[in-house]
Symmetry: C2
């Protein structure tokens, strides 16, 4: 059932049907009602591709992951992000596309995204410290919103991010106030922008507290439970082990907990842990009282914010660079307490 057939059945022109269904005013109420009824009866839906070709808009948003970070796409935070974004799109009739694209220097993949015109806008995920991609994005001519930020690039593009520096600085200061002097950071890959900002936040707060940051206590790696476990073991095996650990995700924190269990350490007493918590639907940080003291930043809100911003920019391309900075909420749980130095390792003492 297409527009022509429907118009023929009703006995009016295609123009009138199109106008009636798209809410234009030049159609009498009676005609409109007749057309709407017929469209419903015949289950008519405009062909997306044809409408897109005619209007120049495809009513789809591309969510793009650089292939260099394909591993990131399996990060479950994106599910909540997607759900948040999808809610916004659904209200406005947009479809959502997922693309893993080659972002290496010689690649045309980002450019093609624009040239092929299959989406009206881009949400770019998980930027590394590589601003070349930013130029590629600009060259597409499509509006885009970056989830996260490019390091060392002027913030003259649209982005949605959390305030990593502030959140991790706050956590560090809190631990320092509790008397902790040896504070480890279990972080994502060093090439990720958020990881860099988080480390900076921790280091700055350490210095402010008169503590010299120790690079040995920073552990970079994939944001997996396994990495959380291994990094914790490594930290505890250090000659001068930490009494507190700041963790970049709840999933890694579960690995931290497992490592503590394995060594008979109790969270909040033998070892203080603060974790960033994306507040994903699939992981709850304990029940009424959170297990972990945490920096909460609901990732679904990030998805909503990014999608909302992108649609705004699509509606009004003249808009100057829009930056949305979401603050994490510091939430006290059971995993932190005053510093109790761990017994030195046996071979040390």
């Amino acid at each position: 059932m297409n527009l022509r057939d429907l118009a023929r059945i009703i006995g009016v022109s295609q123009t009138t049907v199109s106008r009636a269904l798209n809410g234009y005013p030049e159609v009498s109420a009676a005609t409109r009602a007749r057309i709407v009824a017929a469209a419903r009866e015949h289950n008519y839906r405009p062909n997306t591709r044809a409408a897109g070709l005619a209007t120049g808009r495809s009513m789809a948003i591309a969510h793009v992951f650089p292939v260099s970070l394909k591993a990131e796409m399996v990060n479950p935070i994106f599910n909540d992000f997607f759900v948040g974004a999808a809610e916004v799109y659904a209200e406005r009739g947009y479809d959502m596309m997922l693309s893993v694209i080659d972002d290496s220097p010689g690649s045309r993949a980002v450019h093609d995204l624009g040239a092929r015109r299959s989406a009206d806008g881009i949400i770019f995920h998980a930027p590394r410290n590589d601003r070349a991609v930013l130029e590629q994005l600009r060259a597409t001519g499509l509006p885009f919103v970056v989830h996260g930020r490019f390091a060392d690039a002027a913030p003259d593009y649209h982005w949605v991010d959390m305030n990593n520096r502030r959140a991790f600085g706050q956590a560090t200061a809190f631990l320092a106030d509790l008397g902790h002097r040896r504070i480890a950071l279990i972080n994502g890959h060093a090439s990720m922008d958020f990881a860099r900002r988080r480390r900076e936040g921790v280091f700055a707060a350490l210095r402010a507290a008169g503590i010299a940051p120790d690079p040995d206590l920073v552990f970079n790696g994939e944001m997996t439970e396994f990495h959380g476990f291994e990094a914790t073991c490594a930290a505890l095996d250090h000659a001068d082990p930490p009494t507190a650990i700041i963790v970049s995700s709840l999933i890694m924190a579960m690995g931290v907990r497992r490592a503590c269990d394995a060594r008979g350490l109790r969270l909040g007493r033998d070892l203080s842990v603060i974790t960033h918590d994306d507040v994903m639907s699939f992981f709850r940080n304990g029940g009424d009282v959170p297990d972990f003291t945490s920096l909460r930043s609901p990732i679904r809100d990030h998805g909503r914010a990014a999608a909302t911003l992108l649609l705004r920019v699509i509606d009004d391309p003249s808009l100057g660079p829009q930056n949305v900075m979401l603050d994490a909420v510091f939430t006290l749980g059971l995993s932190t307490g005053p510093a109790h130095p761990l017994p030195r390792k046996r071979h040390q003492g």
Copy 2:
């Protein structure tokens, strides 16, 4: 840069350019080389919508989640599934769309998916025991592959699923052989088809071992760490508690482990646990030796299998119903051992 401009620049007709770029044989090698070079030089990419309108194919696949199971979309297994499917699509030039659609009885959302023609095929996720949706899918006229199965419907549609009955029966038999008589099952929502099949597998194997299934030991709920934790607590509080637990996902198993830790029980000695393991990138089941005895079924393979099947069906719509049944691999870990009845609860003894 569009086809017309490009053709004008090169000095040939649009037809020739189109044919040259799409690999048709009616173009001389010399002309083709000239055209390909020019296309590359001018960064030409065909407009997806226009090509789609002309060919009737949109080169996109829709991954559909019923809104009644929006909660399911945040299940991290889908990330690995997406990545697997995306790999297949990338090879063939397909885009991937994500849709959460209203699958309630009166809704036209599934129908619209077909009528709007924005995708060439559908992968339908996480079916409930509701075959009305199956009819809606058929009515779209689009090829579709179901990830999972509809209960109580003839398998006369394309699906990809794991052999839930067999896997969970195998796990149950294994535990029974170790002397366990009280075996609990921590499962997904009862309305999910896979949950039903898994329970059937467990019950059948119990009966085969001469054990009467106890519905009290079946716990349905969301596949979250939290549900794993709570169900384990509930199971252990039972008057006649289980000595073994079969768990439907590794994430829930992490909740089981947490509950054991909280009660001072050791996995594999005080309580045997077998978990289904989707082998997601984000969770590793221990290191070289798996922590949990598990039924492994790499979800990325499911994604690849479903996408491959769908493209096959798109290429050849006359294909009869194709069913891909993936078997889980039973992997021995450290979480199982011979039955040791737990001490009865105090108020009982």
